[in-house]
């Protein structure tokens, strides 16, 4: 979840209404951007990924203006034709296929706007832009470049320019190797033969997307007009990002102008600030929400969330801001009706059908086993099912290649699912050496092993005792008690060649001819490996 910071003073001036701290808290919470913190003038709110338009103070203020009744309904934006064109060369199709661009005139670059714009750019990169892979954004001084523009892919050595924050000309290879942004984002383009580049009429480089802009087109405090581009792997994400930025700038008084993007035979007017139209039926919305509202009432409510809805009998036509790409169909309209109505104002009901509770039989059985173990003074432990080869095999003096293994573990301590519970219990003893003896513990839990190509998860019971006098016999009587109480027949067989146990002090539990478990005294080498200092005996058996 992204956190957006802004100045309360700036925010309130954008809202155009004085709000108390409590009112501010309530308002941002109700538009789905709950407060993270508020200290003095500094406010931070959390933004969910469905609403990238709220990744800037301008967007949050716009939503609050509607919700607080300052300006309800759809906010419309005008965009005149700049007369500029941008040509997309087909060479970028394999690398970074999409671009959208806009000209923004008469921008007053106040400190607040610059801070917000930088934050918006960074947050869009991280969220919607998937760390620049899906979208990256460039902002330039429009007056330093000449239309028409061209977006193409070229050999990395063939283009040189001075990247931002550098003093010398570099080709695109050198940028990936030397520039901090090049190093950070090289992964995105490295595999391609040609790299994307955006140039003006005279071949002046604007940027090497998604890596870095050129120093020559840098935005300065004197900049009055901006050129903005978004490139990426998804047309929709690229266009949405551009439109969100344009709306924020327009809210600050700038004038947005469109650029004609020629992509093959397609001609795209960018940005497209026309509203999204969604049809919805008031009946369906009422049925889903459990409300009884007229279409007119719904239209009124939708105005508070920045939509303009036209009610006609039972049907609604909803016009929503162009950046609301989370609106897929009527269900999304229904949510906004519910939000505007207030979740906490809805009269709650209960589902209208009868049903009978039904436990999972294995859970019922496990609970009986727990009772038996507890009756014998054993304390239940809960251990992680994820572990590593050292604990599961090496320390136990065993080997195995039957583990369910992780591909991308963050640490070497969590690399596989455990194949048995015994090591977990020995680990519990190892952190409890100073606790009173005897210690008696158990776990009913799962293990996972590979059977052929498939992972098989199985429920097991294991128990253990550590004490100066702990022995084979302690486990024998526990195992026999469990088998008796659960009414499971069994016989015992000598467990031979199990390296985790003292030879001659381990047994196998056989049930209907199948080995279902074992018990015995842990080998002193294993005790050493776990750092245990007292004799220890364990048992473990399958429950299925």
């Amino acid at each position: 979840m992204a956190v957006i910071n802004f100045s309360k003073k700036d925010f309130l001036s954008l809202v155009g209404k004085e709000l108390s701290d409590q009112e501010l808290d309530d308002a941002v919470s109700m538009i789905g951007a709950p407060l993270d913190s508020m200290e003095g003038d500094e406010v931070a709110v959390e933004i969910t990924p469905d609403r990238p338009d709220l990744l800037c103070v301008e967007g949050i203020a716009r939503a609050v203006r509607a919700f607080a009744g300052v300006e309800e309904g759809l906010k419309t934006y005008e965009a005149a034709d700049s007369g500029m064109e941008l040509k997309v060369d087909k060479s970028v199709k394999d690398v970074r296929p999409f671009i959208a661009a806009a000209a923004v005139k008469n921008v007053e670059l106040t400190d607040e706007l610059v801070a917000s714009l930088m934050q918006l750019q960074e947050k869009l990169h991280d969220t919607l832009g998937r760390k620049r892979k899906k979208v990256s954004i460039g902002v330039y001084d429009l007056d330093t470049v000449q239309a028409p523009f061209v977006y193409k892919a070229v050999k990395p050595e063939s283009v040189e320019f001075v990247p931002l924050e550098m003093n010398e000309r570099m080709n695109m290879h050198q940028i990936l190797e030397k520039h901090p942004k090049g190093i950070a984002f090289a992964e995105i383009v490295k595999e391609y033969e040609n790299y994307p580049v955006l140039m003006d009429k005279y071949g002046k480089v604007l940027s090497f997307p998604p890596i870095i802009n050129s120093e020559d087109t840098r935005v300065t405090p004197e900049t009055k007009n901006l050129f903005i581009d978004c490139t990426g792997s998804s047309y929709y994400a690229v266009m949405d990002s551009l439109q969100i930025i344009c709306a924020a700038l327009a809210d600050r008084g700038a004038r947005i102008e469109t650029i004609l993007v020629r992509d093959g035979r397609k001609k795209i007017v960018s940005p497209d600030l026309s509203p999204i139209k969604t049809k919805a039926s008031a009946n369906k919305i009422n049925k889903l929400l459990g409300l009884d509202l007229s279409a007119g009432e719904m239209a009124g409510l939708l105005g508070k969330l920045g939509h303009t809805a036209k009610a006609k009998k039972k049907s609604l036509t909803v016009y929503s801001p162009f950046y609301r790409n989370d609106l897929l169909h009527w269900v999304d309209v229904a949510e906004d009706v519910a939000i505007a109505y207030g979740y906490n104002n809805i009269e709650t009901t209960l589902p209208g059908f009868a049903s009978i509770g039904k436990p999972d039989p294995t859970q019922t059985r496990d609970d009986k086993i727990r009772q038996v173990m507890i009756g014998m003074g054993y304390c239940e432990t809960l251990n992680w099912y994820i572990t590593n080869e050292e604990k599961n095999y090496s320390w136990m003096l065993t080997e195995g290649d039957d583990a369910v293994k992780m591909k991308n573990p963050l640490t070497s301590t969590l690399t596989m699912m455990r194949t048995w519970i015994t090591p977990s219990l020995l680990e519990v003893f190892s952190i409890n050496k100073s606790e009173k003896m005897p210690q008696k513990i158990f776990e009913v839990g799962d293990v996972a092993t590979m059977k052929g190509e498939e992972a098989v998860e199985e429920r097991k019971l294991a128990g253990a005792i550590i004490d100066a006098k702990a022995s084979f016999n302690d486990m024998k009587s526990v195992v026999e008690t469990v088998m008796f109480e659960m009414d499971w027949e069994h016989e015992l067989k000598e467990l031979k060649n199990h390296p985790s146990f003292i030879p001659g002090r381990a047994a196998e539990i056989i049930c209907k001819g199948k080995a279902i478990g074992f018990f015995g005294e842990i080998h002193p080498q294993v005790l050493n490996n776990f750092g245990l200092e007292q004799p220890t005996a364990v048992f473990e058996l399958y429950l299925e």
Partner: protein, 493 residues
């Protein structure tokens, strides 16, 4: 006044003229400790007054006995030297080791160099001294005859310093007098009856107990702490939540932890480039390295939904990647698909409490493996108002009377909300779960119908808050002192 049997024995002996411990011992057959205890207790009850006398007893030890019999080495040595000058070779071992140095110190001998080596010659003082009795010898004799007194102590201490000659023990002799109350109390004591600590079988069976008196215990004496076997605190919470679901008519689901991305993500309308699917958040598996998607029709429906809704090209290979499930909702998705294929019936209510995994750095706030609770209601006629209503009931059963909802976002629900409950003890609202209605993009491909109500919460965080634990890892560390000290009678969350 309730008296211990020892006390009564002492009083009885005192009535018969015994006023010191050894006499009482002789009369009662009690051990010294028992008599002393009883005297102490009776003194506290003001039944008698204690007089303590300290006496030091001296005892001859091995070396002392040897010297008493054979003389001190310095005396023996000087005596021999008085007769004739001695060569070193003529001395016994202890004469050599101790005799020479003591005799020299006393001025009894001198050592003279001669042509044939050193010789020992007695001085006139030495010759005179060995005629009388050596003072230390006198002391030893006194000790041996029991005549040593406090007055000799200082010299005896000095003597003891040269070896294992004498030892001292300080003896406290306790005598006592009965007070008037004590005499009265002694008079009240009837015939002694046998007093018992523990009944045995024969006393019970033969009726012998009728003649016996069962000792009264000090009921406040400390007893040893017992450590019962018990359920893990988290299990106790799980049991409670299971109970609530079952009471509310929910059926318990069951599902695997090793799951395909298809069920964990795709079936729940999470786009394939969703950040939650990144390697940094999800455990992907090396073994198994692929998992089949069971139903080609279902696969097609999910693919189309993704491509239409998220506008990208859906890839089957990505959906086949196995993961450790990141939420229990993966199991809900399977149950929903089984409802779609008529294996299960609708309407229905299901729940699951199970382990989920996140590829996170583990610290005091984050676990890589934890428990999640999921409840769903599969019903064509269900409403958002029903969802809010059932959630209210659920949390009321958990003990939360005050509850409120806040709009939120999850990729697979719409509307979505966060559940906040009011903790009376802490006096604040806390987030305790999320909920929503599964999107048509989830319901239609899996079930063919709509809607499904869903809510869930993770378990450890609220339990941690209500227990006042600061480190979330506590739950899986199984510190026995924590397990032993966490009370079964308390309800957490």
């Amino acid at each position: 006044m309730a008296l211990h049997q020892y006390e009564r024995a002492v009083l009885k002996a005192a009535k018969n003229g015994a006023y010191d411990v050894s006499t009482v011992q002789a009369k009662t057959g009690l051990k010294k400790d028992a008599v002393l205890k009883a005297v102490q207790w009776l003194a506290e009850k003001k039944a008698l007054r204690i007089k303590e006398e300290k006496k030091t007893e001296f005892k001859l030890e091995a070396e002392g006995r040897d010297f008493l019999e054979n003389g001190f080495p310095e005396t023996r040595l000087t005596k021999k030297a008085a007769e004739k000058n001695l060569a070193f070779t003529e001395l016994s071992a202890d004469e050599k080791r101790f005799g020479i140095s003591w005799a020299k110190k006393l001025g009894w001998i001198i050592i003279m160099p001669t042509d044939s080596g050193k010789v020992i010659e007695a001085t006139p003082e030495g010759k005179k001294a060995v005629k009388g009795e050596y003072a230390p010898m006198k002391l030893l004799r006194k000790v041996a005859e029991g005549r040593a007194s406090e007055a000799d102590q200082k010299e005896l201490v000095g003597l003891s310093k040269r070896g294992n000659l004498v030892s001292f023990t300080e003896e406290v002799t306790v005598t006592f007098n009965l007070t008037p109350e004590g005499s009265k109390l002694a008079g009240e004591q009837g015939e002694m009856v046998q007093e018992l600590n523990q009944l045995n079988k024969s006393q019970i069976v033969t009726g012998e107990w009728k003649k016996a008196r069962l000792r009264e215990y000090n009921i406040k004496a400390p007893s040893e702490r017992a450590y019962p076997g018990k359920k893990h605190p988290l299990r106790q919470v799980i049991d409670r939540i299971r109970g609530i679901f079952l009471e509310m008519g929910f059926e318990e689901m069951k599902g695997n932890m090793v799951e395909s991305s298809f069920w964990n993500f795709d079936a729940l309308f999470q786009p394939q480039d969703h950040p939650a699917r990144e390697l940094a958040d999800t455990f992907y598996l090396l073994k198994p390295d692929t998992m089949e998607i069971p139903d080609p029709e279902l696969e097609k429906r999910v693919r189309e939904t993704h491509e239409k809704g998220w506008k990208y090209q859906w890839k089957k290979e990505i959906a086949k990647q196995p993961v450790l499930r990141t939420h229990t909702t993966a199991v809900s998705a399977r149950y929903l698909a089984e409802t779609g294929s008529k294996k299960r019936k609708a309407p229905a209510k299901y729940f699951l409490i199970g382990k989920v995994y996140r590829n996170e750095t583990v610290d005091f706030k984050h676990l890589a493996e934890f428990q999640q609770v999921d409840g769903i209601i599969v019903d064509e006629n269900a409403t958002f108002a029903d969802l809010l209503g059932i959630i209210k009931e659920f949390y009321k059963k958990l003990g939360f009377e005050k509850i409120r909802f806040r709009p939120s976002y999850f990729p697979y629900t719409e509307p979505s909300l966060e559940i906040e409950v009011y903790y009376e003890e802490r006096g604040e609202w806390m987030e305790l779960g999320g909920a929503g209605i599964f999107r048509p993009e989830v319901c239609i491909p899996l079930w063919g119908k709509y809607p499904v109500l869903a809510w869930g919460l993770s378990l450890e965080r609220p339990v941690m808050l209500s227990m006042g634990i600061n480190d979330i890892r506590t739950f899986y560390r199984n510190d026995l002192s924590w397990l032993r000290d966490t009370k079964v009678g308390k309800e957490w969350i």
